[in-house]
Symmetry: C2
Subunit: 390 residues, 2 copies
């Protein structure tokens, strides 16, 4: 550790975050404010969060000894991603390390089959689903849900649309691709939905929990591109139901920290759980500028068992649009135009080099008028990405 | 430099800040968001900002070679404090380094005699003042302003009430103390004021400027303890006048970055300039949680010549109260109570060990009702300091 405890003020908590991506980087903004020392176990010396924290040892998060050494200097260990092996985390806990969320909770964000099976035990609303091992299983499942198309997903390791296949029929070559991935495969009903929603909650070890306003998220090619808080026109009863579902899942699974529950608002009115994430989530980035307490602050508070902060929105509408890598390599040049055009715009860059489609930042606008706020955020993201030039 | 330019995304600006105090630390919060790489020239390896940035070489800001080496890796150099020798900054500029604010502006925040003389050239409203060299000068000055008490100040090096003496008569021992300080002394009229105000503006190299709402500040023993934004009950015409005075000063002096103009609201209605600071200022900390763009973000934008952000307040009232070191050594323990009591409270700790009277953090509350908002912020600060226990 770069800082000996004696160099820091008495009582300074040290939070270790495994993974040096943009979630760790954004966590640092609030850690600095709260006087929390954030350590990051980084994938390399100059990854996103390593540029932003004082203490970012480089190491392999799959190596037990590396993670153990890292954790030894922290009051609590938490995560920028869900890829640390469950058994490694069990070993850490056995050593007395506080791990939040713990492996028994985290496994539900790591393994979609485990998640589906567990949610079924308390009847959380979900699309029809089944683990499939052969093309015949796939055909049987399709028959059960009224026919193709259906969806196949890797149970482990997918993200941002990777590890998901839309299957149009029994002979679709995607079936072979899915089974060729070497990971058990989950089949899911293709839900006819009107939009996607996300419920973000934060929960403390002793069970205090807060629920953020339900947001609408727009995905393109499996990547979240836009989030509106709150979800426009959502029936308040349905919003409350979505929050309750997320709080129930957090409680049943014993989540500590932020839990994001992505849901489908189905055309038939049902709200169905799509995915879980147990960390600050892209659909919660709006909260940095748009809520009293950001998801990153509440994640830190939760893993340290501090009282949680208000998740209330500060403006009638907040819209976040991701900045994806495009043709423009220098993201900073576009700032001149965007900031001059909109003095209320909030820009967030992740310290990541541009690659096509890579999330390199996001912009947030807030205001009283939905369409105007959306158009401000969309314009800025498109300009920074380079898809428009004025 | 810890990061080679090639390790950072194309176009990433590198801002060097001389001094590793809480202002640099709070600047880091916004630098991380904006994808700006902040380097800090730190007084020690574990000072406030060094705990929060990836790149904080330790060095003496009075040593030309140290500062030159530091600046060589930065796009622009700016300051956490005003103590870097003017001649050293002139030498940097001669080497082609961008220094913001530049030495010709900064000298007005470093030397009160220079500041007073310069402000007189464009008739900025000020208390009567005079450089004094002897006890006889002091007596003459007192006669000119209608008698004692008067104030003596060191022209250089004072801060937080240090280097300021209230003199009750010609034989007051404070006169000898002031002249014994070894620094030229400025005598000032003791203004009969109803309250202190502060005008914060930010200005870019090409002259764009924004003015924050005028705030009321409360000082105790020369230390800022509480700030209310906007200053309650301030006549709008007077508020506009205070903003214009600050904008005028920023323009006349060629300030780049944040300028704080502390003022007296005199009982006779005049607004008189008390002190200048050319950096983010304690009376602007409310803007982190209370304004669309914080003073730290606008300081960074200004020194990088990026368009400035809106300084508008986000709530009817925002109150910031400093957390000063008291009897409680562990600042973090009090958080449990404060955060549980007030889910909307924003707490900022500076990573500084408690010493009596030392600024170790601040709390901010915002809301619709002035008295309630004030009472929330005052309670939290008092509880964290240890002056109340429930």
């Amino acid at each position: 550790m770069k800082f000996d405890r004696k160099d820091l003020p008495v009582g300074t908590p040290v939070v270790g975050m495994v993974g040096g991506g943009q979630l760790a980087r954004m966590t640092q903004e609030t850690a600095v404010a709260l006087g929390i020392q954030l350590r990051v176990l980084a994938e390399g010396p100059a990854v996103s969060a390593a540029q932003a924290v004082a203490d970012a040892p480089v190491g392999d998060y799959k190596d037990p000894e590396t993670v153990r050494r890292f954790a030894a200097e922290c009051d609590v260990v938490t995560f920028d991603h869900e890829h640390v092996p469950t058994e490694l985390l069990h070993a850490l806990e056995a050593d007395g390390v506080k791990v939040h969320p713990g492996p028994d909770a985290l496994v539900h964000a790591q393994d979609k089959a485990v998640m589906r099976a567990r949610l079924d035990t308390f009847a959380a609303p979900a699309p029809a689903h089944q683990v499939v091992g052969t093309a015949a299983d796939v055909a049987d499942f399709a028959k059960r849900v009224g026919g193709f198309p259906i969806i196949l997903k890797t149970t482990r390791g997918g993200y941002d649309g990777k590890g998901v296949w839309f299957v149009d029929g029994p002979d679709d070559p995607q079936v072979a691709t899915a089974f060729g991935s070497g990971v058990p495969i989950l089949a899911e009903e293709k839900v006819d939905f009107v939009r996607e929603l996300s419920a973000i909650v934060a929960r403390s070890p002793h069970g205090q929990a807060v629920a953020y306003p339900i947001v609408e998220s727009v995905q393109r090619d499996g990547i979240c591109v836009e989030v509106t808080a709150p979800a426009p026109g959502l029936d308040p009863a349905k919003a409350a139901q979505a929050q309750q579902t997320a709080l129930r899942i957090a409680g049943e699974l014993g989540v500590v920290g932020v839990l994001a529950v992505e849901m489908f608002e189905a055309r038939d009115g049902r709200l169905l759980v799509n995915e879980l994430a147990m960390r600050p989530h892209n659909t919660g980035h709006w909260s940095i500028d748009g809520a009293v307490t950001s998801q990153f602050e509440n994640h830190l508070r939760a893993v340290l068992d501090l009282p949680l902060g208000s998740p209330a929105a500060r403006a009638p509408y907040t819209v976040m649009v991701n900045v994806l890598g495009g043709d423009v390599e220098d993201m900073h040049r576009g700032l001149l135009h965007c900031l001059a055009r909109d003095p209320g715009l909030k820009v967030h860059f992740y310290g990541k080099s541009v690659q096509p489609g890579r999330k390199v930042g996001h912009v947030t606008a807030y205001g009283d008028d939905l369409e105007e706020t959306r158009s401000r955020a969309r314009h800025a993201a498109a300009y920074l990405t380079g898809t428009i030039d004025e």
